[in-house]
Amino acid sequence: MRKVSSAQRTIFLVTITAVALVYIARLFYLQIIDDKYKLSADENVLRRVIDYPSRGLVYDRKGKLLVFNQTVYDLMVTPREVKAMDTAEFCSIIKISLEDFRNKFQKAKKYSPYKASVFEKQISAETYGTLQEKLFKYKGFTVQPRTIRKYPYNTAAHLLGYLGEVDENVTAKNPYYQMGDYIGISGIEQSYEKELRGRRGTRYIMVDNFNREKGRFENGKFDTLSVSGEDLKLSLDADLQAYAELLFQNKRGSAVAIDPQTGEILAMVNSPSYNPNLMVGRERSRNYGRLLQDEDKPLFNRAMMAYYPPGSTFKIINSLIGLQEHVITPETYFSCQGGYRVGPIFVHCHPHASPLDLRNAVAVSCNSYYCQTFRAVIDNRAFPSTELAFDKWRDYVLSFGIGKKINVDMPHELKGNVPTVEYYNKFFGKGRWKSSTIISLAIGQGELGITPLQMANAACIVANKGFYYVPHVVKEIGSKHYLPDRFKEKNYTKIDTKYFDAIQDGMQWVFERGTARGSRVDSLVMCGKTGTAQNPHGKNHSVFFCFAPRENPKIAVAVLVENAGQGAHFAAPIASLMVQKYLLGTIKRPDLEKRMLDAVVVPMTDTNDDD
């Protein structure tokens, strides 16, 4: 009989039992405790496929299409699937060098050999056409359509804005965006990003190890449909905008036109400007860099971001403040002996009849009149101190939408500058300043800084006799023709309606026998005010604001031409021509038009040629 060797048997059984227990413990850890593998499994098998909605289109107030989407093609590559091919031919089709090809391929491989990534961005439809016929020869290369913005008219670049790829700041703040997404980064593309972009749809699909689609995940339970972006109808009048831009050729400056009865922005001109088509496509970053370095600053949105002293146009506001504060009446006369002396300071004035009442002071823009008015406001005995009187004056100015943001529906609006009591206390010392110290404010100089948009808004206020609607460029959003309520509210200034009549009289006289009589149009009752803004950096800026017609006003315009001298020389004719274009549809003063088109204030390198 054999020996019963139970020890060996026991050890054998203990060993297999131990192995089984260790394996069960390990499986317990892998399958139940550690979540890592569950996530990895989803990562393996699930792919999010994004359905990009088409971005909303943009029309002007007459229904002209200003921005649309054009299909371009991204050439994608899945490195693992690429087989031996005629690289030279491939490179010549998409117009890259062999070296580029190698670099791009290495980059794609580094990103992932299994997943498709962009090999060449935005190839043109023509290139795509050529490539498409031969694509079967290039295994692993596919073409993915995408859309880019396209602008049929080379106009209103700053207002329309542009798109750019999101950066990490955006993706960190807003989970909607992912790397590679596009977002509006200026103009209405930015301010109406949410409306324009629509909502992205996401489909979850399952793929196998070669990334081949295998079906929908959980029958599409987690999928979302994409929603197209809303179209925008702008209040912008593309014809007026283009015409104004034309008038601005060879000039630096800005013009803003607003419908005073609605606050709708009709035109917003910046000069120099650029062709909006430069900011899309493959050359975008090169173009952007070039525009950024251009000394003429074509990317600068002067209309909302440049501070200009308003010059004599500001006299309108000072007049209204004087009337409201009862320090003057329309029948108040001040004399003028070629200027106004306060202590050591002498404010010059040009030759005109003297003394003048308010209406005539507006019409001829008498400096002395306003120095005295301003002095009466600031040194008003009704106030215990200059500071309080000044604060009151400042409140009036702010109620005109100057020195604060008026919340236009565009990004990067600046608030302008109206000096404060604190500022003067710091500058001159507390109690050591009075009206004479800050007398330049009387004629719109000194520390005042106003954007052309604010200037146009002020013209609206005068046209409306005391209120404004927040200026906006969008007339209707989407198929429901929606407009935010904030654009429908009247914002009142602190000036009573009754004081505006005399001012409007004066402003009408500006055209009829005052400073802007050279820009008058017989068939139109226009009200305006010239300004010549002193500029420490060079020649005076030519400033003008106006509205028309006086009864039932339809358009208010502010024009600023940099370094162009008196308001009457450039700003007033341009404003007048813009009013004619908008109200009459024809130009009654072709002489003015010719003079403006021919005038060269600053020769500029034209950035619009290379499209």
Binding site: R9, I24, L27, L30, S40, V45
Partner: protein, 420 residues
């Protein structure tokens, strides 16, 4: 001697039940692993699961044949069977079909046979034959050398075929030799310790390890305080240090680069999820994503969409893990445990030494496959390409294990009347 009345008399039905459960569970999992919508019938012969059905049917026929053949045949012809097996291993080296550097298959059209699978039961039979004679002096060197030769001969031939994993399986016979007192337990223990030392040497700097080993030796002498232990302890310490320093040589010159990589990945010395570590990582992901109850039959995504390589053969356990969860994997492990216990129980109840030794051979081979295969899929063992018995897809493998197991069942059915 009495004759058997029926071939099913004294058959161990429990073993057969376990066998059938495993084979059918394996078939369903192969179906799930390579399932695709276009071929959604489990009997579709163009797919692995359809083919596996044929392998199962033929295996059952083979099992029946084994039960019909007289039990004495296996002992009597064990030498012949072993001889044929060795000849076929040589023949495959000459006439075999080379696949990915290995020459281990005979090809007949679509159909392939791997002689190494059949060498397992042949070697088990030969080993039993060698060690079963009554009065054999087991602790003599000739017996030891012969028993080693019996399993090392196929090992060498299979290594020549370049099937390292399959060759390793034959070292399972050391367990049989241990059971039969041919090699004492301390040698096995020493082998395990040497393996452990080898692995530690790869991970720990040599000098640190040397200092640890010397201090262990010194500590032992200090605690035991016996003069006669001084020399052996110093000797063992020196050998251990020798092992430590031979590791680099063995690792760099003896192992092939892919084997090196697999060991490095297993030990976490290298994370290469796209290369050598890909299989194991994907395997762990598939199993780990199963959770407690699994994703359900045919619902697994990792295996079905081919993220796990070899998902119907060597990595079939992943499908179990993904679709049936922790419950499923535990059941499979318990099935194997039950089968192994049953085989040991059967072996131990044999009055015939031949049957007992053969039984241990069966247990050792199945255990080794189970140990390596499941260990590999859960990242506890290096990747060694051997199938999971009864579960993995493959004709040779299933046939081989069926023959291996049913010979034992046949021998066992004779236990009451085969007295020696």
């Amino acid at each position: 001697m009495r004759q058997q009345k029926s071939i099913f008399q004294n058959i161990d039905w429990l073993t057969i039940l376990l066998y059938l459960v495993m084979v059918i569970a394996g078939w369903l999992n192969i179906f799930a692993a390579v399932y695709n919508e276009d071929h959604n019938n489990i009997t579709d012969l163009t797919q692995n699961y359809g083919k596996q059905m044929i392998w199962i049917a033929t295996s059952l026929a083979l099992a029946l044949a084994i039960l019909i053949i007289d039990g004495k045949f296996y002992e009597a012809f064990s030498g012949v069977i072993y001889g044929i097996s060795i000849l076929s291993l040589i023949a495959v080296l000459i006439f075999g079909h080379e696949v990915a550097g290995s020459k281990s298959w005979f090809r007949f059209g679509d159909f392939g046979i791997q002689p190494a699978e059949f060498a397992k039961f042949a070697t088990a039979l030969m080993m039993a034959r060698l060690l079963s004679p009554v009065g054999l002096k087991k602790d003599t060197w000739p017996v030891r050398l012969q028993s080693f030769a019996v399993f090392l001969l196929p090992v060498i031939l299979i290594l020549l075929e370049n099937e390292t994993g399959v060759a390793l399986v034959f070292f399972a016979f050391t367990l049989v030799l241990y059971r039969e007192n041919i090699i004492p337990g301390w040698i096995l223990l020493l082998g395990i310790l040497a393996t452990a030392l080898f692995i530690i040497s790869l991970l720990v700097p040599k000098t640190t390890l040397m200092i640890v080993l010397c201090s262990l030796g010194g500590l032992y002498l200090f605690l035991v305080q016996k003069r006669k232990y001084i020399l052996p302890v110093i000797g063992i310490t020196l050998i251990a240090i020798g092992v430590v320093f031979s590791v680099d040589y063995v690792f760099n010159n003896v192992l092939e680069s892919h084997q090196k990589k697999r060991i490095q990945v297993l030990l976490g010395m290298e994370e290469d999820l796209r290369g050598a570590g890909y299989n194991v990582n994907q395997s762990k992901i598939a199993i780990g994503s199963g959770g407690l109850l699994g994703k359900g039959f045919l619902k697994g995504t990792q295996t079905k969409y081919n993220f796990v390589p070899e998902q119907s053969t060597d990595f079939i356990f992943c499908t179990v893990g993904e679709e049936w969860g922790f419950v499923g994997t535990t059941v499979v492990i318990l099935l194997f445990l039950a089968l192994l216990y049953r085989i040991v129980f059967i072996a131990e109840r044999q009055k015939s030494a031949f049957a007992r030794i053969y039984g241990y051979g069966v247990a050792a081979i199945i255990f080794f496959h189970f140990f390596i295969n499941i260990g590999m899929t859960i990242g506890l063992m290096p990747v060694i390409g051997i199938p999971l018995p009864f579960f993995s897809y493959g004709g040779s493998s299933l046939w081989g294990f069926t023959v291996l197991l049913f010979i034992l069942i046949k021998l066992d059915s004779h236990r009451t009347f085969m007295l020696r």
